[in-house]
């Protein structure tokens, strides 16, 4: 059957043109296409790898940031605590200082008062002396006869002297 027998002319042309097609495609089509595909796959692979690395880097940075943030928070708290302590100590010191000062003032006042009092008592004593002399004089001016009367009189005068 003719259908099953290869035909020489077509066989010849097919052999020739298919060989040429194979060579041209191999050189000018499959070479660049396969190379480009391999290159693209490699570049995608690399891109994925570097993305993975970048992701790790990111995570590392983030962890670092968190650490810094935590440290900053701790630092802040420390500073605030220190400030509070300082404030407290300043207030405490001030209070102490003030009470010392006050005590000193009081002490001084007390001393001054004491001093005044002593001075006042001295004055009173002088006054009493001068009164006594005055009274004595008066008595002497009255009559120096009645002794009892004199005694009563002196007592009376002394009673009249108020020390305050």
């Amino acid at each position: 059957m003719g259908l099953l027998l290869p035909d020489f002319g077509l066989f010849f042309w097919m052999l020739l043109s298919f060989s040429i097609l194979l060579l041209i495609l191999k050189r000018f089509a499959w070479g660049p296409i396969l190379k480009a595909l391999a290159d693209r796959e490699n570049s995608i692979d690399e891109a994925l790898k570097s993305a993975e690395i970048a992701k790790g880097e990111m995570a590392r940075l983030q962890a670092g940031n968190e650490k810094i943030l935590k440290e900053a928070i701790l630092e802040r708290e420390k500073i605030i605590k220190e400030a509070r302590d300082l404030k407290d100590s300043i207030i405490r010191d001030a209070r102490h200082e003030a009470s010392l000062e006050a005590n000193k003032v009081i002490e001084n006042a007390r001393a001054a008062i004491e001093h005044e009092r002593i001075a006042a008592i001295g004055d009173i004593k002088n006054l009493i002396t001068s009164f006594s002399i005055e009274i004595a004089g008066k008595i002497l001016q009255e009559k120096l006869s009645d002794e009892d009367l004199h005694k009563d009189l002196i007592q009376n005068y002394i009673d009249q002297i108020n020390l305050n």
Partner: protein
């Protein structure tokens, strides 16, 4: 990929259905007037399937519209002859002592009529319908792949676009699912260009065979001369890349009882026959599948003309069914176009892979 291919396939289906029906109704109308001319299904089908010296495009009334093709002959008596095939269809059909044999051993072939009336077949290098179709398909393949390659050369990193996005998944499929598993990771690169070339050559020619008008329509990949060349390439590549083990195993296959080899070398004969049956099977499979597809599709719409000889009404009735079946067959053929290209490529890869293999399993099998 599907988004690109879908409109293309729809377009092809549409064209096929349209042109089949067009042709059917044209000839159907003619059937009333030329009842004398008996419709011969076999002739119609063989006219289509076999090669011819002109490219028949359509029939208007009684005039055939066809493209004459160059005839190149080398006769041992009269030397080289080059002329257009149109000259063989005029008048008596004789030109310079050559004619197309109507019957006999050289049916449909150009023969030289000797002085004594005997017919001798000259060396025939004619650019027949199939050769033209071959050149057209090669031009199309070159156009497609050189354009695509240019884009890859410009910048490999760009996303595929247009034709590239149709080609690329197939190229990757052949590389990763055919070449790599069959040939191994070290060897596949060497054979990949060949595998890609046969795949696309067969696939594109199968598709072109499905297009029923001018640039397509030739039964090229269903022609045994073409499939035999393709199988020959696989055979040569397989034989050239055969490892030492491959040849040794042909003669002395391990793991087989000695009495199958020694007094009478049964296994070596089977093994050596296998070397030749493999390419033979490749040849026949592709040829038979594609030719059968064409025959079935043509047979379906020949039904219209067979019924037209009984009555025009029956022909119109049957044309609906014929067209439906032809469209169905065309869809099936699209699938077969891919499957056959895939099978041919896969088997070629497997055969080459088998030849490359180095066996280190002797101890195990014994």
């Amino acid at each position: 990929m599907a988004r690109v291919l879908k409109p293309l396939f729809l377009f092809l289906f549409g064209l096929m259905a349209f042109s089949f029906t067009l042709k059917a109704s044209d000839e159907n109308a003619g059937a009333d007037t030329i009842t004398a001319k008996k419709f011969n299904t076999g002739d119609l089908i063989f006219d289509h399937i076999k090669d011819s010296y002109e490219w028949h495009i359509a029939e208007l009334g009684h005039t055939a519209i066809s493209i004459p093709l160059p005839v190149i002959l080398y006769s041992q008596q009269t030397g080289i002859h080059v002329f257009m095939s149109g000259k063989l269809h005029k008048g008596t059909g004789m030109y310079n002592g050559f004619k197309i044999a109507k019957e006999g051993k050289y049916e449909r072939k150009i023969v030289e009529v000797m002085a004594d009336g005997s017919e001798v077949k000259p060396w025939d290098f004619s650019i027949t319908k199939n050769v033209t179709s071959l050149f057209i398909s090669i031009a199309i393949i070159l156009l497609i792949f050189l354009t695509v390659a240019k884009r890859y050369k410009e910048n490999f990193a760009r996303a595929p676009k247009g034709l590239q996005s149709v080609i690329e998944p197939i190229v990757i499929f052949i590389r990763d699912d055919i070449a790599r598993p069959s040939l191994g990771n070290e060897n596949y690169k060497k054979y990949l260009p060949y595998l890609l070339t046969i795949f696309f050559f067969i696939f594109i020619n199968n598709l072109m065979g499905l297009v029923p008008f001018f640039p397509g329509g030739a039964n090229l990949s269903g022609n045994i001369s073409v499939t035999v060349v393709l199988a020959l390439f696989t055979f040569i590549i397989t034989s050239l890349s055969g490892s030492r083990d491959y040849w040794v195993h042909l003669v002395n296959a391990p793991g087989i009882p000695w009495w199958l080899k020694l007094p009478f070398p049964l296994m070596p004969i089977v093994e050596i026959l296998g070397v030749f049956t493999k390419p033979f099977v490749l040849t026949i499979r592709l040829f038979a599948n594609i030719t059968a597809g064409h025959i079935v599709a043509l047979a379906f719409y020949s039904l219209i003309f067979i019924f037209a000889e009984k009555s025009p009404v029956a022909a119109y009735g049957i044309s609906v069914i014929s067209v439906a079946f032809t469209v169905f067959m065309s869809i099936l053929e699209l699938l077969i176009a891919f499957i056959q290209a895939y099978v041919f490529t896969l088997l070629s890869a497997i055969y080459i892979g088998m030849a490359l293999e180095n066996h280190h399993v002797k101890a195990e099998t014994l």
